[in-house]
């Protein structure tokens, strides 16, 4: 059961081979047995999960089950979940019981899914290794010495280890795609505005986007259909119909034009990763696609632009944590300023403080134009690079990350950690969708192929990923840890 896809489990539930309660209990048992070594969950919501599973089974008995009814999954601990601790990986919110559901959570509940718990993450989604969590680092199920990636590292590790068939993540600069790549699963960052941000604890509001992490593109299509759509409570949510993302999964790739950005195959790319990605591209050629070299000339400036824009937005968003209305409060404050300052100093970890300080500095008088305005102009040039490329080709392909998962503790310097996100960050600045699919290994550590498409081209992206998964079996590989018997 634990190694099946959502699509397979949906069939098993529909055929009465298994009940949602049995499935939920099996997976809760696996979490209890295996997660001590991975640390992929912050909270396990056993009671609510079993109640939701029973409700799903009752609905099915009445003949009212939908395509997702009774399917188990997990939620990154950034999604507000009514009555459940929602920590965002931070000491600041260690005592925060969310008083409402995020839009994504509402929709998943309405679809009848069963959440088993909240997954570990880099604090406030700031990180690429899951080492910045107040609750400790997550281990990569393929190699316990390796990071799972971040910031949705708990979601990725939980899916890879067969603790859940799918999990929700968020992606501000690669936080779905890079951990999906590092853990050998499939992760989709939708177009900015496709999924409501309501109730997702904000990091950088012009970049944040939620998306599914699962074993296959087909499962991602199923989940995206459930969470996408217009929501008046998110002013940047886009009023645009939600297609049936599974409807296009059978399309042939004959005639598909694939662009390889020259800048994504340059210095810093590990040769073994490049080799795996080039092999994957050969598979696409055999499926009838044509390959074209393209250029995204401002690629080099994506990380600098991101590290102005994201910290600037973060410094504003995180000002809400004031020790007054919710979250951590220091002991015995002498006055209001002391209350703010010590509550925030005690509640935030060092990477979060670093980004708040960078954002505050670059937005302050005398620096605003040189940093923030300039970064926003460069952002336009970066987006234009993609728009120009999509005049020539249908999708872009390249590595999701320049290396496979690195060792825990390997990147002590913040700037060297930031540079790991070279292939994912520009995608958020441009707002386009991207997906990472398993495409091989370097030793025991997985490699992700990243596929990018124009705004709102999720159907096509999912089909392009799905066709690869019909022709290869990388997505079916499981880490040894997942197959250990009890």
């Amino acid at each position: 059961m634990h190694d099946q896809t959502l699509t397979q489990l949906a069939r098993a539930l529909a055929d009465g081979e298994v009940s949602s309660r049995e499935l939920t209990q099996t997976l809760l048992g696996r979490i209890e047995r295996l997660d001590g070594r991975l640390n992929s969950f912050i909270s396990i919501t056993q009671e609510q999960a079993l109640a939701a599973a029973d409700a799903a089974d009752a609905l099915r008995a009445k003949g009212q089950a939908g395509p997702l009814t009774g399917l188990p999954l997990a939620l990154k601990d950034i999604f507000c979940t009514n009555g459940v601790k929602t920590s965002c990986g931070s000491k600041m919110l260690d005592n925060f019981i969310a008083p409402y559901d995020a839009c994504v959570v509402e929709k998943l509940k309405a679809a009848g899914t069963v959440s088993l718990g909240k997954t570990n993450m880099d604090e406030f989604a700031m990180g690429s290794s899951n080492e910045n969590s107040h609750y400790g680092p997550v281990k990569n199920p393929w190699d316990l010495d390796a990071v799972p990636g971040g910031s949705s590292g708990g979601s990725a590790a939980a899916v890879a280890a067969g603790l859940v068939p799918a999990a929700m993540g968020t992606d501000t600069g690669g936080s779905i795609r890079q951990p999906a790549a590092f853990c050998g699963i499939t992760g989709l960052k939708p177009t900015y505005g496709r999924v409501s941000r309501y109730g997702i604890i904000a990091y950088a509001s012009s970049l944040d986007q939620a998306g599914p992490m699962a074993r296959t593109a087909e499962d991602c299509a199923l989940l995206l259909g459930a969470i996408a759509g217009h929501d008046l409570r998110d002013s940047t949510s886009v009023a645009r119909g939600v297609p049936d993302y599974r409807a296009e999964l059978g399309e042939s790739l004959s005639g598909l034009k694939i662009g390889l950005p020259r800048e994504y195959f340059g210095d810093g790319l590990a040769p073994e990763v490049e080799q795996a990605v080039r092999e994957a591209i050969k598979v696409y050629e055999s499926l009838g696609a044509s390959i074209h070299e393209v250029s995204l000339p401002h690629t080099h400036y994506a990380i600098p632009a991101y590290y102005v824009i994201a910290p600037a937005e973060a410094s504003s968003n995180l000002s809400r944590f004031d020790g007054v209305r919710f979250g951590h409060r220091c002991d015995a404050p002498s006055d209001l300023i002391d209350l703010y300052k010590r509550s925030r100093d005690e509640g935030f970890g060092s990477e979060v403080k670093r980004r708040i300080l960078i954002g505050t500095h670059t937005l302050s008088e005398g620096f605003f134009d040189a940093y923030y305005t300039q970064a926003q102009k460069v952002r336009r040039l970066i987006r234009q690079d993609f728009l120009d490329a999509f005049e020539e080709v249908d999708v872009l392909m390249g590595p999701a990350s320049p290396t496979p998962a690195f060792d825990l503790g390997a990147n002590k310097d913040p700037v060297s950690m930031y540079l790991q996100d070279i292939y994912t960050i520009a995608v958020n600045l441009a707002g386009i969708p991207g997906i990472s699919v398993p495409a091989g290994f370097v030793g025991s550590r997985p490699v992700g192929l990243q596929i990018l498409g124009p705004h709102f081209a999720e159907s096509q992206l999912l089909n392009v990923a799905h066709q690869f998964q019909q022709a290869t079996d990388w997505h079916q590989r499981r880490p040894a840890l997942a197959e250990e018997s009890a």
């Binding site: 012009s206 000002s319 209305r325 919710f326 209350l339 670093r354 040189a370 300039q374 460069v378 707002g431």
Partner: protein, 95 residues
């Protein structure tokens, strides 16, 4: 643009983060390297390029000025560190 400890102390105060001189000295190095990386933006010719605030160029939607939320004060205040009679408690501000 080199960063001084005084810049860090200023940003920390603006961001309402407690910081002593020792902490500030520790941040100068990291933040200085981040800003040096970010300074590469100055190489880009952005003459005539408009800033991009939002990837889809959409504009803020307006809605009718009507009450859409119901009062959930008690519910929301359950997660507050200190409340009394529906009010959030903070140290005395006005003597």
């Amino acid at each position: 643009m080199a960063l001084e400890p005084s810049d860090v102390m200023r940003a920390a105060h603006l961001a309402r983060l407690a910081m002593n001189d020792v902490d500030a000295a520790g941040y100068v190095d990291d933040l200085g390297r981040i800003l040096a990386m970010v300074d590469q933006l100055q190489e880009v010719d952005t003459h005539g390029v408009a800033p991009l605030a939002h990837p889809l160029d959409s504009t803020q939607r307006l809605r009718a000025d009507e009450v859409t939320e119901r009062d959930q004060r008690d519910h929301f205040q359950r997660v507050a560190p200190a409340v009394e009679n529906g009010l959030y408690l903070v140290p005395r501000v006005v003597e």
